[in-house]
Symmetry: C2
Subunit: 200 residues, 2 copies
């Protein structure tokens, strides 16, 4: 019997997945979590075979949970089920030891099979990601990423300088570097491109 925990902030999907996966003869849903913190706590408590988790959740993201489990040498394998085919997410997920990565545009049968494969130690990657994912490493350094996040929230270069204790000229240089790496022309295109790739 494969014991799993489901982590998903939307109750409707979480409940539906729990119900459907419970119908499988060889899968047992031992707990459900609505955010990353709860997921971490429940995995520690129940030590399931697989954690089925979204990425974007309150408290901790699914990737952060995976990172924590890896750091603590947990035997629980992680299967990511997310909306977006973002290569940046997949790269970070791989680095965090995640062995399953599928999209929500998959069928529940495929989800069940993915749970089985991951439980047995196999690797499952959504076909849509198999190529694009491994091609482009994240070109941004940490400072550039941090600045792009602040740009995304609408901050001016001056404000970013104050927040990060940098001069606004330095912020402009970092932004220029980012936009060049991303192949775009302005700050809006820059954070959008980074966000779409999962690099933000």
């Amino acid at each position: 019997m494969i014991r799993i925990i489901i982590a998903e902030d939307q109750l409707l999907l979480r409940g539906a997945l729990a119900s459907l996966l419970s119908l499988e003869d060889d899968i047992e849903v031992v707990a459900e979590a609505k955010d990353g913190r709860e997921a971490l706590n429940l995995v520690k408590l129940h030590t399931p075979d697989v954690l089925v988790t979204d990425i974007e959740m309150p408290e901790f993201s699914g990737i952060q949970v995976a990172q924590s489990l890896k750091r603590n040498n947990s035997n629980t394998r992680v299967l990511i089920v997310t909306t977006f085919a973002r290569s940046g997410y997949l790269q970070r997920a791989r680095d965090a030891g995640v062995t399953g990565y599928i999209l929500k545009d998959t069928s529940s049968d495929e989800l069940s099979n993915a749970v089985r494969t991951v439980a047995q130690g196999g690797v499952v990657i959504a076909p849509e990601l198999s190529q694009a994912a491994w091609a482009i490493p994240d070109p941004l350094n940490d400072r550039e990423r941090e600045i792009l996040r602040l740009v995304e929230s609408g901050k001016t270069n001056k404000q970013i300088g104050v927040i990060l204790n940098l001069s606004s000229g330095t912020v402009r240089n970092y932004l220029a570097s980012s936009t060049q790496k991303l192949g775009v022309s302005n700050r809006i295109e820059a954070f959008r491109a980074a966000r779409e790739k999962g690099w933000l």
Copy 2:
């Protein structure tokens, strides 16, 4: 027997909802649609009692589908199931004759009950929306909204002027008006605020 169609672009959720709602004695899922166009076609074909639909879908949004059904005097009632509690969405949904509006952070039991209520001619609005929703009318005019969409995609004022056949000075004036109405300081804050409210 309440006959329904489910429209949702994510296969996992669509399949899960179809399975769960089919388990109810008094609800029959007669078809499933993966985008707005398919939803419209299937409603015309099957004339279900209720269309259960997401808002953000390829082809047409759930609201556009509702608008079309209203325009064609359809007897099919519309129940929106969406992720975001955005007042702008709810306002447009109401105008389109939608009688159910719940969030994906609801349980499947609540969803089933909402389907029943809407089928009987009742109105179901998510509690989270009951207050905030009706307070603030959309302050943007059509031109401002159109310009904010282009800003959101990273276009410069000059580019927007070319696209909309306006002078860049006019574009700047419209943007200034938008940012003032939204109570923000720059273009990025402006489209984000409008997007979050569902006015974009």
